[in-house]
Subunit: 346 residues, 2 copies
DNA sequence: ATGAAAGCGCTAACAG
DNA sequence: CTGTTAGCGCTTTCAT
């Protein structure tokens, strides 16, 4: 089956490609093409099973109806779910998604961004790597429709959608304190990215507020490029070195998973000996035993909003409009913060 | 910054676009273009930060250097990990990936497949839905490079990469029997797809073999479109209705997760009261308490092989070559099949 | 009411 | 050695 082109239809019906194009693009009325002819063209197109070559159309119109989605790692459940909803919402708006994973490398992100640009994406949804500011700036300067997600650059005027990281971390650390845990450790990524800084600030602020009873800050920063084994090991060391520690707040999904593994290795009991709260939810936290209290991000809302904003920009060509959306997370209190011995929260 | 085209470079250097194109495509030697001119063109291209418009190139050459990846659901960890490796391997071979989720709907899969075709994907990696045979046949007839993954159509000659589903299920059910569980229930998807049929066959074969001590088959088939709540509920009912049941084999990832939730609701203890084995691994099974014995698929190998085969076809234009790869899974024995009082109640 | 023709950016015969 | 030219499939202005 060779590919049917607009020319084949024109030949078959005995008209010019122009007329076929008009009819196929729903401009029959506008161009006052006779109903009879219109129907014949439509029928022939259907019979030959014609489908427009989107590459050719894209070259001609400059619009590919494709959105570029850059996430940190598509195999991370958080980003996978985000991608799923982005795909679904984009589809509803008539767009296809081309996604890629930065693996949190600036070089990789930069080259992927170039790739996406050369493939003429109509718009971008990006989870930026720490050093991607300049490239994002370029995108903005070139008036490319763009929404950042999960994180952003405070001194760069762009649209973004993110969860309230400060509040989430504040609530998470506060939950531990309220449940009677005294010395709360923070396990975070060694990164100056805004979402991580905010989470650290939220944690610190909660400790500050509960000062009278709480111990001092205790923070472990784990390089992003640590292997899972290294991560588990360094968390285990962190726990072992400080017997005072009776609470842990993990700033992210995969650190929490590694943390549970480390705790298990250490032979310590979650909840009774050490309280645990994690940013981001997943099956393990929800169904594990004991279940883990989390600060859950409204992933679907984040994705929906990001697509909605992007499509709005695309439709209104209102590229200059910038909007920032910060969505509150929800606290899911579960077994990992249930300290049976201590009943009085005071 | 307007987009730099080959024409701009030609004008700047004072040559024709042809010469520029030749140089940029590394054909300077072949076309015996002077080194001096070549360098001037290269330098100008670099200075202007020229990048070829891939859409135009795609239209002209008929090659987009893009691979279409259709999975069931990108938010399912199995497919997310698969996608990640596919992306990585494709990148190494100079291809970009456009992925989409079928949500196991034939209509959706069909329309996505059309979309991908019209976007002129160079090749396809597809996890087909049950009724997609005809469309896959079309692809084959049209000599489109194609590799099926995770499942295939027994009576259709295509390349595919899949795990040994029969063997995996056989090993899984056998593990339960070997550990002393007597009446093993099978929780599977209500589907006639080959991978599910094979898993059911493997289960049945294991029971058959251990007949003397094993009870009869007991199978629950859950429709794919059940909500998570419905799934959990029907598994809980299944367990409650048969007090003899002391072992469960789940044929897939998400059924296992739902099953653990159902078991938890039923107040039954995994391992001591009911043995559990699941096809596919994940964080919950690995780190949950008790941990769950699984039949783990070598996801990375599957993805690597699929890309490798596809790229081979693409390079050798050897579209007719068909190859079928069946990779053995590995058995991960964990606490959920250890019949004894559990040590870690959490 | 319909068609001719130009052109999106690129490649590659063919000419010189 | 380098340029002219045609054309990939489509849209759209302008002409009739």
């Amino acid at each position: 089956m060779k590919n049917i082109s607009i020319k084949d239809i024109a030949k078959e019906v005995g008209v010019s490609t122009t007329t076929v194009s008009f009819v196929l693009n729903g401009k029959a009325k506008e161009k006052r093409i006779s109903e009879d002819l219109r129907d014949r063209i439509l029928q022939t197109a259907a019979r030959l099973n014609y489908r427009p070559n989107q590459v050719a159309r894209g070259l001609r119109t400059g619009q590919t109806h494709t959105l570029g989605l850059m996430v940190e790692d598509i195999s991370n459940p958080f980003f996978a779910q985000l991608a799923r909803v982005v795909e679904h919402e984009a589809d509803k708006a008539g767009y296809t998604v081309m996604y890629c994973s930065t693996e949190n490398s600036d070089e990789r992100a930069t080259s992927l961004l170039y790739m996406l640009r050369h493939r003429q994406m109509d718009g971008f949804i990006i989870v930026p790597t720490p050093g991607l500011k300049k490239e994002i700036q370029n995108l903005v300067d070139d008036r490319k429709p763009l929404v950042l997600v999960d994180r952003f650059f405070p001194d760069l005027l762009t649209c973004y959608v993110t969860v309230d990281n400060f509040m989430g971390a504040f609530e998470g650390a506060s939950l531990l304190l309220r449940k009677g845990y005294r010395k709360i450790g923070l396990i975070t990524v060694d990164s100056i990215q805004v979402q991580m800084m905010e989470r650290e600030r939220g944690y610190a602020s909660a400790l500050e507020k509960g000062k009278k009873k709480a111990g001092t800050e205790s923070i472990l920063r784990i390089p992003y490029d640590y292997s899972p084994e290294q991560t588990v090991q360094s968390i285990a060391d962190f726990i072992r070195k400080d017997p005072q520690l009776d609470g842990l707040f993990f700033t992210t999904n995969y650190l929490g998973v590694a943390g549970l593994e480390a705790i298990r290795l250490s032979g310590i009991k979650v909840a009774s000996q050490i309280g645990v709260v994690c940013f981001d939810d997943n099956d393990l936290f929800r169904l594990g035993s004991p279940s883990i209290s989390v600060i859950a991000q409204p992933i679907a809302s984040i994705a929906q909003k990001a697509v909605e904003i992007l499509v709005d920009i695309l439709n209104h060509k209102d590229v200059s409009a910038s909007c920032q959306l910060v969505i509150p997370p929800t606290v899911q209190e579960r077994e990992s913060t249930y300290r049976q011995e201590i009943k009085n929260p005071g």
